[in-house]
Subunit: 427 residues, 2 copies
Amino acid sequence: MTIKEEARLLKADAPYLANSTHEERNQALDNMAKKLREHKAAIFAANEKDLARARENELPPALIKRLIFDETKFTETLAGLTSLQNMPDPLGKELLRRQLDDGLILIQESCPIGVLGVIFEARPDALIQITALCIKSGNAVILKGGSEAAESNRIIFHLLYQAALDAALPEHCMALAETHSEIKELLSCHEEVDLLVPRGSNAFVQYIMENTRIPVLGHADGICHIYVDCSADLEQSIGIIVDAKTQYPAACNAVETVLVHEDLAETLLPLLSLALKESGVRIRGTEAVQEYIDCELANEADFSTEYSDLILTLALIRDCNQAIKHINHYGSHHTDAILAEDQTTINSFLHLVDSASVYVNCSTRFADGYRYGFGAELGISTGKLHVRGPAGLEALLTYKYKLSGQGHTVADYAEGRKQFHFEDLNL
Amino acid sequence: MTIKEEARLLKADAPYLANSTHEERNQALDNMAKKLREHKAAIFAANEKDLARARENELPPALIKRLIFDETKFTETLAGLTSLQNMPDPLGKELLRRQLDDGLILIQESCPIGVLGVIFEARPDALIQITALCIKSGNAVILKGGSEAAESNRIIFHLLYQAALDAALPEHCMALAETHSEIKELLSCHEEVDLLVPRGSNAFVQYIMENTRIPVLGHADGICHIYVDCSADLEQSIGIIVDAKTQYPAACNAVETVLVHEDLAETLLPLLSLALKESGVRIRGTEAVQEYIDCELANEADFSTEYSDLILTLALIRDCNQAIKHINHYGSHHTDAILAEDQTTINSFLHLVDSASVYVNCSTRFADGYRYGFGAELGISTGKLHVRGPAGLEALLTYKYKLSGQGHTVADYAEGRKQFHFEDLNL
């Protein structure tokens, strides 16, 4: 079957999945945990095949590390399934109950989005997490994992799918795409798929965004800034900057550019330079920075570059206003921080920086669904519509309006025989 | 200045508009009302010029009716400004306040989307309403009204803009596009404009959706259905169907297809046919329908047609399940109603029909922001993300996350020296 045909079947079944009970969806999650436990040895064997091929092809160590599905990750993933089961039903929540007039009641109620397409990295645990999030929220899903994990994904998908069927969920509640060419096919399914969530490299996400009419949740660039104000605590600032750059340099929320208030040039720059170099960070500084420390020369292009590596751009800046303008111009509206003690300056930064997450005196690396307490994370959005920033279960929901009357017609209101009497009933 | 250049200036000033106080934004609305009152005669004179040209060009009466800006519409529009002023500040609302750990506080706070592009019909009062909604919610806006209202729009825009400046709002808070070619230019501003709201014909909205990378709020088709179940009250049903078809046939929420349970063929069809014909409605029925009443023959294409006219497709259907499948297949996910007394059937329809608004025993024509009690309506969305159904002030808002720490680094948590202690502080 082609992806388009699968997508059509998923779309037709999606309303029935949306109408499943919380007990059925939780039963599916429970079945999934049981199936995974029962077939653990087979899953590990499949994962070994993926790993052997990855080593043979000399894939980078970071990729191999993500590809490994071992006892520790297995236990963590199953704990994630349990905590998702314990969460309340996200569907059918009344967001509004309003009487429009006698006997005419409007209810706004949460419901699933419908059919999702999720494209994710070669991580077998991600397949389980994403499926579980979709099933908990009543969404049908087309899954495309990194091909390096093909063997692991295939066996895990079949176990999860069987678990869903055993809980009496509709036949077409999930599908697995296995080849790269199916991604292109998926991009053309704008009549069947309601939302695409691509995770991966900037170039890949950018490609997705430019080649589909389906709404996309995600981010391409992650050019995050830290501005160190003249009122900052210097020692604390150095610790935060080193963490934001080095704790996981490949992450989208790692800092790329540090803007330092010019009054701190003499005091902060030498100390910061020392600390960064000790952590293996290469500094690219502007000419003004080079007057204070020894470093490579930064050019205009560096301000727009996500290094995803142990490289940092450093610039001196006149004041907080100039920092705000720089960040709004060069940034990617992802996560930007101010290090300062002066409350007026802090407030101005928080209000005027146009980013999904704006931070005070802490590391940009906190921008993450798990660290925000959302349970699991589907992705991080730099778009401003629907969801912004780290996106958890909420991102998989929409709502519908239900209006219930007793023969009410609009002509009565348009021609003045009746008037609306709005009254909110759930406040 | 080109629209692109204007958009760039608006984008640069948008954070400062977002940071304006509620008093300043309300002062701008107050100034707008004053300016409009002071220059009422000049506005009416400009509107007369538009009307004279429209009559000269023999534009349709419905268009001319919308184009008229008279004493009645003036008073209504000014009342709208006042009621908007009386609404609480939509910005800076705390949607979440969560302690992640000691001294690390996450706040999710409402804020404006940024820069909007709104393309609307030739209605001078719409220009005022849309501008007022944008200013109240701190959004910069590029306005493009129907060219038939060019003279009215020009004078009104300049008055509103002056009113905004007098309230100390940023210089680049609003712009007027006057020519059709500027729409094309606007569509290419995906780096400057955060959201497009096109209102107008299906073909026009479809064109916009297919020719821009900017997110679009709106709907192309409005193919709304009414299903009459065998448990329905017949007399009430006829009243609702006549209203849904005839009260304003050009509206997107007018009914296009009525599906009748086959058990009602003999009783309902003759009565319904009579009532519809008395209201001037042409019926296109399936072959099965033609066995009971005299009407034109409907073909497959009729099920996908938005007539926007006094024409109705009529079909017999086996049961509610078949009706649900028909609606999910042929509908546009806008507004669909069931007429029934049996509660199980009603619930199944409400849950399984995948539309923004699902109704019981009332006319589809209620799908409207004003009738939902939202104050003003920006548009109706058939998309499922961000906003669904009639969209008011809420559609103009997003949020940002503010995280405030005391030197917190991620390494402490990743390496086990600290644990998160999530606690919601605003529940």
